[in-house]
C-alpha cells in the first residue's frame, strides 16, 4: 500500500489521503519503508507529502520489524537533512537510527554548517549531542538548561489512532518513541556556590576513544535505559568519565557491583572522599552548611548505595574516623551512625584509637536517645561483620581482598580479636550507660538486642567465640521492673547454654582449639546458678550467693521473707501476673496469699499462665535449665538443682 501511495500512481491528492489512513495492524515490513524512501529520492513528490510521510514513519517507528536496512541507507536519509522543511523530522529519524558507526566527521561538519545557516535549532542540538555521546572528541556542546528535552511531538493524533487500533487487536501498546535525553537534574533549591555534593552527569570518556578501542564495540552508559539492556551489553560497557555519576541511577549501580577494576574504585573513592571532606570537615566558603537538605540527601543516597552494594566505601571509612573526632553527636545523627555501621572489620590494633575513643567521648556526654542509637549502630556493625564472616571466610585465612575494596589481609584470629574487642567495648559502654541513666528500660532493650546477637555467634554465624555479658548488664536486666527485659534475658541465657553445649560437643569431637575458656564457662555457670536460685528457688541474699546483703540491713527494710522477694511470684516484673493469676484461681478470696501459688498444682498452672502471657524466653529457659521434679505438698523449695557443668 505504501508503495502504491508513494509512487503517485493516482496523483498527489490520493497519496496524501492514503497515507493518512495507513494504520498498521501489527508490523510494518521494513522493505516497504525502504522502498518508500527510494520514491522520496526520485523527487517528484510534493514537500508537504514528504513531510507527511516522514511523520508517518516516526509514528510507526516502533512497529518496523527490523531496522538494519534502514541503517544501511543511513547516508541517503542523511542527505535529506539540508532540506529546510524536512530537517526536523529527518533529524529525529536519524536520532533513532544512529549507531556508533554512523558518526563520521564529514557528517558532523555538515550538521555544524547547517547550524550556522539555521541557527540554534533544538533538533540539530539533540542529534549532535547523540553524536557527542559516541565521539566526544569530534564535537562538544553544552545544552542550556531551559531547553525542552526530547524532540517535538508532531504526531499526537496519529498516535491516538494507532493505539486504538492496537488495543483492538490486543497488541502491546508501543512506547513513546521520543527518547528523552538525560539532563543533569537541577535542584530547585538555591544554587550553592560550592557544588561538591552534586552528582556529576553521565558522560562518556574521551580517553577511551583511542584507535585501539574503536574497533571493538563499546557501549556507553549514557544509552542505558533498562536492565535487559545492561545484561546484553555487560561485557562491553565502558566506564564513564566521572565515576561519581554512577551513584545517580540504580541501573548504573548494578553495573558498579560488577566492576572489578581497582582504578575505577579509586576514582570513585577520591570523588566521594573529596565531597565528604569539603562538606563536613573543611567547611570552607559557606561556613558549614551542614544542616542543609542537600547534605542530608547526599548522605541518604550514599547510605542506600552502600546498602545496595552491601559494603561500605573505603573513603567513607576514612572520613568517618576523622569526622568522629569533631562531631557533636547531633548533626545528621541517623545518617552518620548508619554510615558507621557499614564500616568493614577494623584491625584490633587500631580499633581502639580510631573508633572507640571518639565514641566513648560522645557516648558519656549525650542524651539517652543518642546512647540507644550508638548501641544500635554497634549492634548493626557486629551483625554485618558476622554476616560477612559467615559468607566469605575460608578455612584458616580470611582473604578480604576479593570482595571488599580495602585489600587488608586478615586472619581468622585477627577477626576474632576485633569482634572480641567490639563486644567488650559495648559491654563497658552498657555498664556505665545503665548506671548513668538509672537502668532505663529503653537503653536496656537496645543492650539486650546486642546481646541477643552476641549469644548466638557460634550457632548462627559459625564463629567459635562466646562472650558473656558483664555483671553490669546481667544484674540490672535480671532485676528490671518490666517483664520483657527479664524474659529477654532468659532467652539470652537459654541461647548461651545451647551455644556452649554444642561448642563443647564439637570440641570433644574434632579436637579443635576453640576460644572458649574455662573462665567463660565458669561465668556462665555462675550467672545461671544465680538466676535459677533467685527466680525459682527463692534463695536471694543468702550467704554464698553473688549478691550478699547484710541480714541486719535486710531486717531494717521490714520486708517479710526477703529471700523470696525476687522469685517468679514476687519479682516486681511478675507481680502483676501473679496477682492476675491469683484472681483467676481464687476469685472469691479477699486477702492475697501468694504462698498458696507455691502448691504443686497451682505452681504448674502458674507456669502455664506465665508462658501463655507471651514470655517465650522464660519458657525456653525454664524448660532447658530447670529439671522439674514434681514434689507434692512442700512449700518453699520447688524444683531441683539446675543442670550445670
Amino acid at each position: 500500500m505504501l508503495d502504491y501511495a508513494m509512487s503517485l500512481r493516482m496523483g498527489g491528492g490520493t497519496c496524501v489521503r492514503v497515507l493518512k489512513f495507513l494504520i498498521p495492524a501489527t508490523v510494518v515490513p521494513q522493505e516497504a519503508v525502504v522502498r518508500a524512501v527510494s520514491w522520496l529520492c526520485v523527487g517528484k513528490i510534493a514537500i508537504s507529502t514528504q513531510v507527511l510521510f516522514l511523520r508517518w514513519v516516526l509514528t510507526v517507528f516502533d512497529m518496523i520489524d527490523s531496522k538494519d536496512h534502514l541503517r544501511a541507507i543511513y547516508g541517503f536519509i542523511f542527505s535529506f537533512v539540508t532540506e529546510e522543511n524536512l530537517s526536523p523530522y529527518i533529524c529525529h529519524l536519524l536520532y533513532l537510527l544512529t549507531r556508533r558507526e554512523s558518526v563520521r566527521p564529514f557528517r558532523v561538519r555538515k550538521l555544524l554548517d547547517l547550524q550556522t545557516k539555521m541557527g540554534r535549532q533544538p533538533f540539530l542540538l539533540h542529534l549532535l549531542s547523540l553524536y557527542k555521546v559516541f565521539y566526544p572528541e569530534l564535537v562538544t556542546l553544552a545544552l542550556p538548561s531551559r531547553m525542552r528535552s526530547g524532540f517535538k511531538n508532531h504526531n499526537s493524533t496519529w498516535k491516538v489512532a494507532l493505539s486504538a487500533v492496537q488495543k483492538r487487536n490486543k497488541v502491546q501498546v508501543s512506547s513513546d518513541i521520543s527518547l528523552t535525553l538525560r539532563l543533569k537534574d537541577k535542584t530547585n533549591s538555591r544554587k550553592r556556590k560550592l557544588n561538591h555534593l552534586e552528582l556529576p552527569s553521565l558522560s562518556s570518556s574521551i580517553q577511551s576513544n583511542s584507535s585501539s578501542s574503536r574497533s571493538r564495540k563499546v557501549f556507553s552508559l549514557e544509552q542505558l535505559h533498562s536492565f535487559p539492556q545492561l545484561l546484553d551489553n555487560l561485557h562491553c560497557i565502558e566506564l564513564p568519565s566521572q565515576m561519581g555519576s554512577l551513584l545517580g541511577s540504580s541501573l548504573a549501580l548494578c553495573y558498579l557491583d560488577y566492576v572489578q577494576d581497582d582504578s575505577a574504585f579509586l576514582r570513585l573513592n577520591f570523588w566521594l572522599g573529596h565531597a565528604l571532606h569539603e562538606e563536613f570537615l573543611f567547611c570552607s566558603g559557606d561556613g558549614g552548611s551542614g544542616s542543609s537538605s542537600e547534605a542530608l540527601h547526599f548522605l541518604n543516597r550514599l547510605l542506600s548505595t552502600q546498602h545496595f552494594l552491601q559494603e561500605g566505601f573505603s573513603s567513607t571509612e576514612g572520613f568517618l574516623y576523622k569526622f568522629l573526632n569533631v562531631w557533636d553527636g547531633s548533626l545528621l545523627r541517623p545518617q552518620i551512625l548508619g554510615l558507621l555501621s557499614d564500616i568493614p572489620v577494623v584491625p584490633s590494633s587500631c580499633i581502639s584509637q580510631l573508633l572507640f575513643e571518639p565514641l566513648m567521648q560522645l557516648f558519656f556526654t549525650s542524651t539517652l536517645f543518642f546512647k540507644c542509637s550508638v548501641i544500635d549502630c554497634l549492634n548493626n556493625m557486629l551483625l554485618e561483620w558476622l554476616t560477612w564472616h559467615s559468607v566469605y571466610a575460608l578455612e584458616d585465612g580470611l582473604d578480604i581482598s576479593l570482595n571488599s575494596h580495602t585489600p587488608m589481609n586478615m586472619t581468622l584470629s585477627g577477626f576474632m580479636d576485633s569482634v572480641m574487642e567490639l563486644v567488650r567495648f559495648v559491654g563497658r559502654l552498657a555498664t556505665v550507660g545503665l548506671q548513668l541513666e538509672g537502668c532505663h528500660c529503653l537503653l536496656l532493650s537496645f543492650i539486650l538486642d546486642f546481646y541477643e546477637t552476641v549469644c548466638d555467634m557460634f550457632l548462627k554465624y559459625g564463629l567459635p567465640l562466646v562472650v558473656m555479658p558483664p555483671a553490669g548488664v546481667f544484674y540490672p536486666a535480671l532485676f528490671a521492673t518490666d517483664p520483657v527485659s527479664v524474659d529477654r534475658l532468659s532467652y539470652i541465657m537459654y541461647r548461651y547454654k545451647k551455644n556452649l553445649t554444642s561448642a563443647k560437643c564439637q570440641q570433644q569431637e574434632t579436637k579443635q582449639a576453640f576460644h572458649i575458656s574455662r573462665q567463660t564457662c565458669q561465668e556462665f555457670n555462675h550467672y545461671l546458678l544465680f538466676m535459677v536460685s533467685c527466680l525459682w528457688n527463692s534463695k536471694m541474699f543468702l550467704p554464698g550467693m553473688a549478691i550478699e546483703v547484710d541480714q541486719e540491713l535486710l531486717a531494717l527494710s521490714k520486708v517479710p521473707e526477703p529471700w523470696t522477694s525476687f522469685d517468679l511470684i514476687h519479682h516486681p516484673a511478675f507481680l502483676g501476673c501473679a496477682l492476675d493469676f491469683h484472681h483467676k484461681c481464687w476469685p472469691e478470696r479477699k486477702d492475697i496469699d501468694f504462698n498458696s501459688i507455691k502448691a504443686a498444682k497451682q505452681w504448674n498452672w502458674y507456669m502455664e499462665f506465665l508462658f501463655s502471657q507471651g514470655f517465650q524466653g522464660l519458657q525456653q529457659f525454664v524448660q532447658s535449665s530447670i529439671n522439674r521434679r514434681s514434689v507434692a505438698g512442700i512449700s518453699g523449695q520447688r524444683g531441683s538443682q539446675p543442670t550445670s557443668r
Binding site: 569530534l138 562538544t140 556542546l141 553544552a142 561538591h196 573513592n269 573529596h274 571532606h277 570537615l281
Partner: protein, 354 residues
Amino acid sequence: MEERNSTEETPRNNALAQRRSKSYRQSMRSCVEATHLAYTSGLLTALRIPRSRKAPKSCDITKQVDPDQVALLVKKEWQLSYVTPLYQFRHTQLKSYSKQLSAFIVSEKQQGLAIEVGQELGFKVNFSVVLGLAETDKDAETVFIQILSKQAFSAKDDAQKVVWSGWLTCVNGDLDYLRSLPLEFVSLPLFCTRGPESLTVLVKSWFEKTFDCCFGPLGINSTNLQWLASLWTGCHPTINIQYLKLVWTLPTLPPMDVTYTVHPQDAWELWDSMRQVDTTEDSISIDEVTGFIKGLQSHFFRHFRIDLSAGSLMQISTALGSSHHSGKIKIASPNYIPTILQLLTECALLKMPI
C-alpha cells in the same frame, strides 16, 4: 621597629613553658585537620605535618628551567587550589587537550551551540610543560596552561592576548604517597590560577569531566604563613628582603587589622638568635619558627599592649614574595621557588581525601 635591645631580651623561658600546652593543642588540631591515616590502594600511608624543614638554599633555577618559563611564574599573584590525582592524564597529549579545552570553553560560553573540536575559535588554549621544576623522580612534570583571546574591538591582525593562565605542579611530594598511587594516576596536587573567575571555573569543570579529579580551595593556615615568614627572613644575608610585613586580624568589634612591618636587619637578627639554639645548620624546626613569631609578638605587646596571638595571621610579605591566608601567593624572586613550591605541595597533599 628599631629597638634591638628589646628583641634580644625576648623572654624565651616563657615561650618554653607555654610551648608544651600549645603544642598539645596544635597536635590535637592537626590530628583533626591534617594528620590522618590514609587508605590508599591498601597501604596505610600516614601523612604527617613536618616538624622541620631544610633551610632554603639560593639556587639558580634558570639552570634547570627555561628562563622564559620562569618569567611566567614569578612576579604574579596566584590563587591556589588543590586537585586530587588525575586519571589518565598524559603529558604527550597536550595538543589534543588544548583543542578540547578551547572547544569546551567556547561551547560553554555560547550555550546551545555545538562546536566542532579543532576549528579556529575565539579562545585559544596552550598547554605546555615546564621541565625542571620536579625534584624527585616521582614528581610529575609541571603543566602550564594559557588561554588567549582576542580583545574586543581589536583589529583583525592583532595578536591574541593572554587572558588567563594557570599551572599544575608537584614539587618534592611525599614519596610514600606518590608511590602508592596506581600508574594510571598522575598527581599534580597544586593548582595555581590567575585570571577571571569564570574562566577558572570552566577550566576546572573541564578537568573534572575529562580526568575525574576534584578541585577544592587551598588556604594557607597561620602555621604555614609563619614558616614562610621564617624561611624568607632566613634568606636575608643572601638577598635583601627589604622589609618583613605581617598582617594580623584581631577579633574585636569591629575587627581590627594590624599591619606590623619590621626592619629586615632586626628581623634577621631575631631569627638568627632563634637559630643558635639548634646545632644542625641545615634544618629548621617548628620550635624556632614559633619562637621567632613569639618574639615579634611580645615586642609588639611591650609597646602597644595588644597581644597579637589572640588574632590570626592573615598575610605576610617580603621583597621575595607575599602570601595571604585565603590562598594567594606571589613569588618575586626565582631563586627560592623550589622551597616555596615544596611547602605548598605539602599543604595540597595534606588535603587529599584518601
